[in-house]
Symmetry: C2
Subunit: 771 residues, 2 copies
């Protein structure tokens, strides 16, 4: 990495000061003069019809400024996710939600909202809304929902309670593939609904003006997409809306606010329009947990056909995911589950994947770190381990021989461009002590075992949806660089890495670079911080904008210095010709001269000239690869699984900031451990989800977190800026499968249901006769 | 004007709703969490040295967060005006001010400032600062300041107490010119210091972050220039500073905040750096009146040589202006006074102008609507009326025969491109009833008279300083247009006219256009709202950006429709080929098709493409012209002059929004009347300016405002966008001269000193033996 000055370096985060001093502002901190506060009336029924509603008492309560409900605000169907904005032709975005409904479809569905001088008054007003319901039949399980006599959650689709056309990938001939196979293994896995549990709850402040301008600050991960959806909902031209993602910080995301942040933006906006004042709507933790989207749970079944020598010849997988009452994101999640979870890690000539998004009368599921790939990977790696066991083959060898190689044709519409997967597998295996430890300890009540699982994902969301970024960049009067991008800083530190790319590409000291982020006024369209895309896709346009600015600068230097552009070079903020030395008034010297960018930029200013660039660009997706190794200790008496150590090898193309890459890996692994062993949204019929706060949702605490060894593999992919690929989501993808493999290694029992809670483990051990 | 859809129409102001509902936010309304408030310690002496200062008691006061003074903040010399940023080579900007001083040079000069939890605590802390001074000699009058034994206000310049090289314009040969003349008239005028009296006092909120970012919201007219000066003062890269002019509105300007708004930005920023919290500094009205800049008063002497037939053959003028203790702007004001006030309205082959900016120990003078031209015009029109009287010629005929004509070479480095001046003179003369009424009534104690005066000015500040604008524009996903410009909306309504230009140039409905204004994050460099430049210079870049966007749109339409670009036309938001009709799916039809811009923009989005434009452009200055006619009634017993009627003919090139042009004319005329008859800053030795509030500064009240007839003349200049020229400052330029001429017509006495207060008039009438 020595050829670079900033790329590849552990530069401290640009938001570090703001975060450690507590001065960084989040949406929750925003307060505007005259601002009102919101509480929402939510359905107590999983499915019902509002028979009557009387707002008069609520409206009369002193301190109440507006009551919005389905009768006085927009009735347009919409989709609160990126899906409404980014779904590509020929597909149509799923539009099945209304802002407020008179037919609630899950416990918590929004019926009305109150804006008042404080939350207490708003809550009191909500309690004064007189409402009567007629209860309607409901369905909660995705497989139940497919049955003929199940109540329809949404108007009938192509298949009852199935969103749109099921997702499908097909390659080769599965009949022929299975016929070729010497061994066919078959498994079913069951995956629970998970919650993002980001620290900052969904929140928005909206300020609508009578001339039709709307400004929203919110916890969205995709300010432009939120803007487009607001424009659609309220029929306001996009140019009159501004959305800021945070102020400027967003307290985590993990997918829960790609597009709208819950319905916070739209509810606050609807109330601001009625009240003619700024309105804040901050979800309570309870609302956030039970009334904004979560990760899809469901059932996946798979069959893998393998030759004696270990060659995978065929795979067939079907997924049924519980999408809840509205199709926030489900087509794309089902697609990605198949694409990256099933069809990509290994090169399997014959494959068939079907994915069904099943409507139920539960809170909707949506984007969640990994976007389907963790679920698919858990299925696929279960099959691979199963085949290895049946064949008596080493899992490392089996994986490496079947892994997708450079040049392979696969699910993306071009061959694989680079892969460090086998290097990841080798390094993870070595680091976890594969040769020495695999086989586990079989004595005592604390059993140790190790396991390993591989995976891939995308570096952006293409070709599953529209995916491009834009930037707007300027050289200021003093030679400093201003860059604006709309993708928010939701925690990973991407804006720090962007700053590094900008300094490297512009050839100026890094403290002369400012990357502004997360708002739609200065930044042109960007699809937001999601899909592992941010640094890859935004980094690309930043790089391109800098190349344009360097070109403009050298063009002007050529004019001013009278030296041909191709003899000039910008280095560390200085423009030099053929290695010349700096001179105070170098402008008119014929040769061997230099001039600082600051002096040149100021000269340009004095001549009424600026260096400006806008870039909007699409970059084809080049997937990253990963392999996790896990060492676990299983308590045979309690069923408690303790992760002792995780080793996580990731092909990130190139690590722009290795420290931040490791931060992403560690954070993702912790989420992966949570989903593998602890976290689960539990539904109680008639009451809804039990987990209405962090105290009822078993996030990994510090004592649950093992040593995590992050291994960076750099395949230096030719596609991405500075050869980088994504990493954000990848780090939680193979974690659960690696842990399940380690648990099997320790206990001899393979678990097919997540999370592997002590109860489930104990029961599994009993059923297998191990205790 | 029928060829245009929006240009030339009285479109209601885009900020109307915000202003009439009271929801428009100004800097004074800004409140940030944890924000501190400021009070300032100011010098009680016109010139002194701080011998000792002890902050300890102030710092100890509970609620005080920081005390800034000359010992703990920046000591850099700077210039708070646009001058620091826009002064062109080979001149250097005058840098003679420090943020806090230990040698105060006027009563009110800043020595220290306190940030505290509220203003009361801050004021109490200011009173606890123990300070001792040594008084130093001072000088108050500009002519006194030039004397050999006068104390030096600033380190000695080329001439004692004279800023830089005196301004000078020379054409032809004045000796020969005067030799040619049949008549030489000579006059001296004296002009008082005036105050802008904008409604919102100087105010700024600064938020400095530990990572070196600084955000400032302030009442500046020039956010980028304020940014550059902050960068200089605090050595922060420009890309890390953001300045918003208002939030987004600025409560008036009239020149008083071109660059910094007083020192509000820098004082708030210095305190925020020390306190590590956001800080607001809002000038009291007293501070605003007596400690931020004002219009230059001073002395001007002139000689005009005329041939018998009325041909002007020579003019010689010398101005001595009181610039106060610091050179906020004075070189440029002195230049403009000569250029437009003396050398431009009439074509005079031999001329010599000298302008001296004289330092005194008073509050500094700076930019003020007209920027020197009103002072110069008062001198020039006094000479012209004098000559007319001596020659016995009609003032209208004399003016028209000598007025500058198209093609004349003059003060600008290219010939006159267009002038409607003679049309203005004719129309003003007709409207004021020149033929019928000139000569006045000579009986009774209420004497009526009419007068007339002509003038010109610039449409921007070039070539007196750097002058260009930039814009950043986008077509959004729904075909709406977003445009960002940094020039603030300080009241005139320019942003409405910009919106009209954008809609006209983009060929879309006006409600699809949004012009964002007044901040430096989304907008590239613009030198701000001043110098009559805004609509002319910013309108030009908006027009150019729209042309670029239309081109990009048609290029993409060509790709999509398969029809050559030159056969496509964008009209009213539709792209049509050869008059074809709209079709829902017209994209692939071969001919006669149309597609809406909205559909095309959305299609582009789905194909990862955006239409973006940045434009930075200089446009040569093309001056507007004007002639005012005044009818007055003079009370010979009290000396009170009442303006009965003003008729104001302005060549504005083309009126983009005639209603707003008339608003500008009316507002300017009222200011002109104030300066002619009422307004005056009066200095009391040892105390400073008497006029520390509106109650002590005689602004025209509603009873003082006559009928104002605005006459728009359209010369359709080829240079400006849609042929427009400026108007903002022009409307107060010839007002005082027209009124003086009318007073002379009524009374037979010519007054040479402004304002013509009852006392001065009475004394003048007595001296002339008229009463």
């Amino acid at each position: 990495m020595s050829e670079f000055k900033y790329v590849g370096k552990d530069i401290p985060r640009v938001d570090a000061w703001d975060k450690v001093t507590g001065r960084g502002m989040f949406t929750q901190d925003v307060s505007l003069p005259g601002m009102l506060y919101t509480r929402v009336l939510r359905s107590p029924y999983a499915h019902a019809k509002v028979v009557s509603i009387d707002l008069s008492e609520a409206e009369k309560l002193p301190g109440v400024a507006a009551v919005a409900y389905f009768g006085n605000t927009t009735r347009k169907l919409f989709n609160p996710s990126n899906g409404q904005v980014l779904t590509m032709e020929p597909h149509e975005p799923a539009m099945d939600m209304r802002l407020f409904t008179d037919e609630p479809k899950y416990i918590g569905d929004e019926i009305a909202a109150v804006a008042a001088v404080d939350e207490k008054t708003a809550q009191r007003a909500v309690s004064l809304i007189k409402i009567t319901y007629r209860e309607l039949p409901f369905v909660l399980d995705p497989l139940e929902a497919l049955k003929e006599d199940a109540p329809a959650v949404q108007p009938v689709q192509v298949l009852k309670n199935v969103l749109g056309q099921p997702a499908e990938f097909k390659m080769g001939d599965t009949d022929a593939g299975f016929a070729e196979a010497d061994l066919v293994v078959e498994d079913q896995v069951r995956i629970s609904r998970l919650k993002h549990a980001q620290l900052e709850t969904q929140c928005a402040v909206a300020d609508y003006r009578d001339d039709g301008r709307l400004k929203v600050v919110s916890t969205t991960q995709s300010p432009h997409n939120a803007l487009v959806i607001l424009s659609h909902l309220f029929e306001i031209p996009e140019s009159r809306i501004e959305v800021c993602a945070g102020a400027p910080y967003v307290g985590g995301g993990f997918g829960t606010r790609t597009g709208f942040s819950g319905k916070a933006e739209a509810i606050a906006a609807a109330l601001s329009m009625l009240a003619r004042r700024p309105v804040k709507y901050s979800y309570t933790r309870e609302e956030d947990m039970t009334c904004s989207d979560s990760r899809h749970g469901g059932y996946i079944t798979g069959r893998l056909g393998v030759k004696k020598d270990g060659t995978f010849c065929c795979v067939e997988v079907t997924a049924y995911l519980n999408i809840g009452a509205y199709a926030t994101y489900s087509m794309d999640v089902l697609s990605v589950l198949g694409a990256y979870g099933i069809c990509s890690t290994y090169h399997i000539p014959n494959l068939h994947y079907m994915g069904y998004g099943c409507y139920t009368n539960q809170q909707n599921a949506g984007a969640f770190r990994g976007f389907g790939t963790p679920q698919g990977t858990f299925m696929m790696e279960t099959l691979v381990d199963h085949a290895a066991k049946e064949l008596g083959m080493d899992g490392v060898i089996l994986r490496k021989m079947n892994s997708t190689k450079v040049g392979d044709t696969w699910i993306l519409p071009y061959p694989v461009g680079s892969t460090g997967l086998n290097e990841c597998i080798d390094k993870a295996a070595a680091a976890i002590g594969w040769k020495a430890k695999r086989g586990g300890t079989k004595t005592g009540h604390l059993r140790r075992g190790i396991g390993l699982a591989a995976g891939t994902h995308g570096s952006n969301a293409w070709p599953f949806c529209v995916d491009y970024s834009s930037t707007y960049a300027r050289i200021e009067n003093d030679g400093s660089l201003f860059i604006s991008v709309a993708s928010p800083e939701i925690g990973p530190g991407s804006t720090t890495s962007m700053t590094q790319i900008a300094a490297e590409s512009m050839h100026i000291p890094i403290d002369m670079v400012r990357v502004r982020f997360g708002e739609t006024a200065s930044a042109p369209f960007d699809s937001g911080t999601h899909a592992t895309r941010t640094l890859y896709t935004v980094g690309n346009v930043i790089h391109r904008a800098c190349l344009s600015l360097v070109d403009q600068v050298l063009e002007y230097a050529q004019e001013q210095l009278g030296i041909a552009k191709d003899r000039l070079k910008l280095e560390d903020g200085m423009i030099r010709a053929d290695g010349g030395e700096e001179k105070a008034d170098g402008c008119n010297s014929p040769d061997g001269v230099s001039i600082s960018l600051a002096a040149l930029a100021h000269k340009a200013h004095l001549n009424n000239r600026r260096f400006l660039a806008t870039v909007s660009d699409f970059i084809p997706n080049t997937p990253p690869w990963e392999c996790h190794g896990a060492e676990v200790e299983v308590d045979m008496q309690t069923g408690m699984v303790r992760v002792v150590r995780m080793v996580c090898a990731h092909d990130v193309g190139r690590a722009i900031n290795p420290l931040l890459v490791k931060g992403q890996i560690e954070g993702g692994v912790v989420m992966g451990i949570g989903g593998a062993l602890r976290e689960e949204m539990s539904y109680v019929e008639g009451k809804g989800f039990y987990n209405d706060g962090f105290h009822k949702y078993m996030l990994p605490a510090i004592g649950d977190i093992p040593e995590i060894v992050s291994i960076i593999v750099e395949s230096c992919d030719p596609t991405g800026p500075y050869n980088l690929k994504g990493v954000g989501e990848c780090s939680s993808i193979p974690t659960a499968a690696a842990i399940a493999s380690a648990v099997e290694d320790a206990t001899g029992v393979r678990f097919h249901e997540l999370p592997m809670t002590p109860g489930r483990v104990l029961q599994g051990l009993k059923e297998a006769g191990k205790i």
